[in-house]
Amino acid sequence: MAEGLSKRFGETEALVGVDFEIEKGKVLGLLGPNGAGKTTAVRILCTLLKPDSGRALIDGINVVAQPRRARARIGLTGQFAAVEERLTGFENLQHVGRLFHLPTSEARRRARELLERFDLVDSGDRVAKTYSGGMRRRLDIAMSLIGGPSVLFLDEPTTGLDPRSRVGMWDVIDELGRAGTTTLLTTQYLDEADRLADEIVVIDHGKVIARGTAEDLKRRVGGERVEVTLADPSDAGRVIELLAHRALGTGQAIPGTNVVTIPVEDLSGIVPAVVRDLDAGGVKVLDVGTRGATLDDVFFALTGRPAEDEDGDGDPQDGSGAEVPPTAAIYPAQAEARS
């Protein structure tokens, strides 16, 4: 589907030679933090953006050479629910159906069908302005399905939804997957990719850094984890040192928390052993537990930073910036007080 896609915006390389392919009837998860290039890839495949190099094919149709034919085969649900608020749910669907040049009766039939499928029958005659966030998203996805697309693009479909709507949206996407809708799903949530995607492509800074099923990826970073919660986070280095002889690879301190995770091969007897080691080393521990690897670990292992961190190199600036303003602010105030 995508072959060596590259795109730059001015100085920024949004995509650097990205390849991936979606198997028919499968859900491909494009996983990465904000600004990784996920949306850029989707926009190229949806003919909204031209790649600087590389090829993108939908059903074998080159999206750059034949955008209109490609458009007939795709459905796009972007990051914002693109519904016309002033129209009803039914009218929204019918409108897109007409623009797909479906016969009027067919557009109406499909619109009714989709309202049913997405649990919107009761609100189909209400204007979309009155819909909740979750309902808008469902209508949005329904609109992208009315043309009967070969590939459905879901660009961060749960961003901005409350937790309940998010789970509802997962069910919807699950069902699409079961119905054999070929789907490209982008997400920055690891649990979402884990749950919904058949295959995952991890991208970061415009490059593919890993691909495989969720299980493959987890296996790559070691299956099991011991998690130590410390009384004092500054002990993290010592803990990693003390447990190095048991670890499979290196332990990681999770930034911003007092938790250290250690990848291990075998869990049997590990908890008492770790407690003994740490006790002997004189480290105060609040909790020791075990868990299987998550995609968070995968991301951390691949990039050296947690997935939620949007901008790894922004921190130093924040740090230095915090020191300057107080001095600048205090002196004028004092001068005024003296005079």
Binding site: M1, L48, L49, G60, R71, A82, R86, V96, R98
Partner: protein
């Protein structure tokens, strides 16, 4: 990497029908998106009508007694055509705002990813705004009649004047369409459209005779196409000959429409954003 999804299915999906008829249908489908919503949001019509009605009353009663214009005994007969022209031009700013809204809400992205005639999104919007402008105009005309404005010429001349107004406004709808698809946000579209509409409509013959302006401003006002349009419309409503102004206004309208329709469509359908 190989292509695995080459359509081997013998009943390969039929191609999306296209052609001129479908392009026209797409335009109408898009226009009807907005038209359908119009009666549901009466405030849109109310606000685009209240302001011009206020202008009619303010200018007629507040300034009416103080302003004298050569050639017209009754200032109302001079003023109303100017206000009509200004109002329909102000009305075109809705195009910029509406399109900017479509873009910022992702609706434009959805539409651009459909196998439709791309510029139909813009053409549909300009059709809608022209219809809405016409409704506003009719309301304003009724108010003008209520306070004593009259067609001094034939009905044919009045219709010709109305045609001029609408074609001139249509041209400027496209200027605003271009602004709407070029600026980044709804707020920017709103200010960007008023920034130029204000001077164009005021530095003109709409409210006063340009000869009353300072000598540096007068030539600007006289050569303003909006002055030409106002003069032609005013002449026709008052049953006076519009002369070459009539054709000049149509030529301006056609020229502006062509240039900006091209620019706006190219901007909207290009895959560079």
């Amino acid at each position: 990497m190989t292509v695995t999804e080459q359509s081997t299915d013998p009943a390969a999906r039929e191609e999306i029908p296209s052609g001129v008829i479908w392009a026209i249908r797409d335009c109408w489908t898009e226009a009807s998106r907005h038209l359908r919503a119009l009666p549901r949001n009466p405030e849109v019509l109310a606000f685009s009508t209240i302001q011009p009605v206020m202008f009619v009353l303010l200018f007629a009663y507040v300034f009416g007694g103080a302003i004298n214009v050569p050639g017209y005994d009754d200032y109302k007969q001079f003023l109303m055509p100017g206000i009509f022209a200004q109002t329909v031009l102000f009305g075109t700013s809705f195009t910029a705002v509406g399109l900017a809204e479509d873009l910022s809400k992702g609706i434009a992205d959805r539409l651009r990813s459909l196998p439709m005639f791309g510029p139909a999104v813009l053409i549909g919007r300009t059709i809608y705004d022209t219809i809405r402008n016409l409704i506003t105009f009719v309301v304003m005309l009724a108010v003008a009649f209520a306070i004593g404005f009259r067609f001094e010429g034939t009905l044919g001349e009045a219709l010709a004047a109305t045609l001029l107004l609408m074609s001139f406004a249509y041209a400027f709808t496209w200027v605003n369409a271009y602004l709407g698809v070029s600026v980044g946000s709804v707020e920017a579209a709103n200010s960007a459209s008023f920034i130029w509409i204000f001077p164009i409509t005021f530095v003109s013959s709409a409210f006063v005779d340009p000869s009353s302006m300072p000598s540096w401003l007068e030539p600007i006002a006289r050569n303003n196409p909006f002055t030409t349009a106002t003069d032609a419309v005013r002449a026709l409503y008052n049953g006076r000959p519009a002369g070459s102004d009539f054709w000049l206004v149509l030529a301006w309208s056609a020229g502006i429409t062509l240039v900006f329709a091209f620019l706006a469509s190219r901007k909207f359908t290009s895959s560079t954003r």
